[in-house]
């Protein structure tokens, strides 16, 4: 047992403030009676918490007309102050950089996107670009951000937020927090995380996973990413948090080498290279592969038999991997994004039959497979949710500090 696990009254108050804020963030304006139910606290205790949050300019309270037929005083409704309480979110992508701000409550600001002028193995040009984008965002806010979240295509150490390895950028052991902190005065904690983990957070809280405490999110494009939500928490794996690497499950033990240095990974069977192989299309670079996949998916949508056949050829390995994830996590829902969402679209019955072949249903209800909702904005929106979580965690501890999430 970790030291200091006892609780005192100050920490309870912080916990309760956090509970109210989190509810407002996820559910929007809420009346006091409902907040009492959510927290299990008395009317006066709720009033007291709301007063503190109002004084801190995090929420605002207003009277709302009671619906006709209801009696008594108008209800006091508490709403997050998204004019003032905002986080900044950044998504580092191989080809572009994206940045936006998101208010407490989830309102997303304008998304700024610029070409990513990255130099392999040298993160400095990227850092300069990011610093400029962040400065512009900060200027546009009414007050300092609550926190900043940065999604990165690589393995991130949960212990200190360092990017241990970003293969496509060829970054190794980069402390984004320190490097950005030297270039910009953020005035807020910064959280870094793996883009797939952040996408999973976003789909869980704002996308196809809303209301599901146990889910798996899978995304295939050039590679395979994804994440696992267990009991409403993102699975990050043992220290330093490199778990959740669904794309590197071994689904083809005698199979091909993978970009990760291993062999037989799922990524070699269900991502762009595999799809193009089945379609007989050769493409040498990531850029070409992406373009060829886009064209192939458009052909499939026009019912081109060869394109549909190439997608259908991904069914057996897709189903085998899903069966493994079902055995390990028994999720309520599996969310498919990227090109595997198109496999589901064009071969739904085949996917379900192949899953059942490996993993007979444990109940009468079939596997709940759905397409993702947030598209390629998921890492950015997830970075915002991670930033909100970081703010709430530091808030609950009563002092600002920084932390990290992700692989």
């Amino acid at each position: 047992m970790a030291p200091g696990t006892g609780r005192d009254t100050a920490s309870i108050r912080q916990h309760n403030l956090r509970t109210v804020l989190r509810h407002l963030h996820l559910h929007g304006a809420t009346n006091r009676v409902e907040l009492g139910k959510v927290t299990g606290l008395t009317r006066s205790a709720v009033g007291d918490l709301v007063a503190e949050l109002t004084a801190r300019e995090l929420v605002t309270e207003s009277e709302v007309e009671v619906a006709s037929g209801a009696r008594g005083r108008p209800s006091l409704v508490v709403a997050p102050r998204d004019d003032n309480a905002r986080v900044v979110a950044v998504s580092v992508r191989v080809d572009t950089l994206r940045v936006t701000s998101v208010g407490l409550g989830g309102t997303v600001g304008e998304v700024v996107e610029v070409p990513h002028e990255h130099v392999p193995s040298d993160p400095r040009p990227t850092l300069e670009q990011l610093a400029m984008l962040l400065e512009n965002q900060l200027k546009a806010l009414n007050s300092p951000p609550l926190a900043v979240g940065v999604a990165v295509p690589g393995l991130v150490r949960t212990t200190d937020g360092t990017v241990a390895l970003a293969p496509r950028l060829r970054w190794r052991d980069l402390s984004l927090r320190e490097e950005l902190g030297r270039r910009v005065n953020l005035g807020a904690p910064l959280v870094t995380g793996n883009d797939s983990n952040f996408s999973t957070l976003a789909e869980h809280l704002r996308g196809a996973g809303r209301g599901h405490g146990h889910l798996v999110y899978l995304f295939a494009e050039l590679g395979v990413g994804g994440g696992i939500i267990v009991d409403n928490q993102l699975l990050v794996g043992g220290k330093p948090g490199y778990g959740g690497e669904v794309g590197h499950m071994v689904t083809d033990p005698g199979g091909r080498p993978c970009d990760c240095g291993g062999h037989g990974c799922w990524e070699t069977q269900i991502a762009a290279a595999a799809l193009l192989r089945h379609a007989g299309i050769s493409a040498a670079t990531d850029y070409d592969r992406r373009a060829a996949v886009t064209e192939l998916l458009a052909r499939a949508d026009r019912d081109d038999p060869a394109a549909v056949a190439a997608l259908t050829a991904l069914v057996p390995p897709l189903a085998a991997g899903i069966a493994t994830l079902l055995s390990l996590f028994n999720p309520e829902r599996i969310i498919l994004g990227g090109l595997i969402a198109h496999v589901l679209q064009h071969a739904d019955a085949e996917v379900r039959a192949a899953i059942t072949y490996h993993r007979p249903a444990l109940s009468n209800s079939p596997v709940d497979l759905v397409p993702a909702e947030l598209g390629d904005k998921a890492p950015l929106l997830g970075a915002a949710e991670a930033a909100i979580n970081t703010f709430l965690d530091t808030f609950a501890r009563g002092a600002p500090s920084a932390q990290s999430a992700g692989k």
Copy 2:
């Protein structure tokens, strides 16, 4: 967010009492100063908690001579009262039933084992046997047990503790809690769980996994069981908790049918049937297979080349499955029990090389693979730990009730 997540002062006190009891259970007698460090509470607050636990006859306090050279008053040492505070643990096995009691602090009583007179598809004879064993245990205790834990070889619903499916016993939808409650007055909450999950708990708290918050436990015999500890918690999967089924990961997509009704499961590649197949030994029944494996393992220990070769033939599928678990959970340690512990013993270098082939190390440290420590007593000891957890949970809520854990 779940309703009622706010905290009040009464619930904090229960939480702190639970923290002290859990520390005493896992670490044994502890002085007050140390308990202060563990809980983060003041000297007087700790004294107050200990007074309540003493009054409830759960702990005892005594003065201990201070080591020579130290100064001041003799230290007050708090110890769990294992004469009085005990749980009852039961392990339902296909061939035998086992029962024992375990004290707060972990002292294990005499283990009673009787042949299991089970009738396939009819749980009644088993229930009668269990009722008699439980009555004898209860009579031997000084006071009613804190809780009762029952390990079952099957899928257990976490929502209500029902045994949904126990394939080797051919039980379906059996409410052990209700059925045993009708036959014996337990006077305590009863927790039912999957035997592999309970074994994982036991290895984590009392065996090869002590001190490791992220681990995977694997056990192969007639089938493959195991469990996953994530951040010191057993992964039970989505409602109703049928996750953690490591034996049914699909590691051989084109492979054999499995007893579960699926195809290509890990269990078809690394359990008794596969080992005997590689050794060219045919055995028709579970009983014969178990005997043949025992003999084969003895031959391997005498360096019989054919027996060692049969064990070594399990290396590729063993490594592929472990690589998948590493990618998903990045555990600090992987614990191997049953016949795969013998694979590790006789082909250690081959196992490690094959894992690295699929999953190159993410750091300089090699995978921490170790043999299990608790042998076939693990489910029984895990049932005791689950019972202690149930007692602590109900204690922390301030009222007794029953709950379940496991698949």
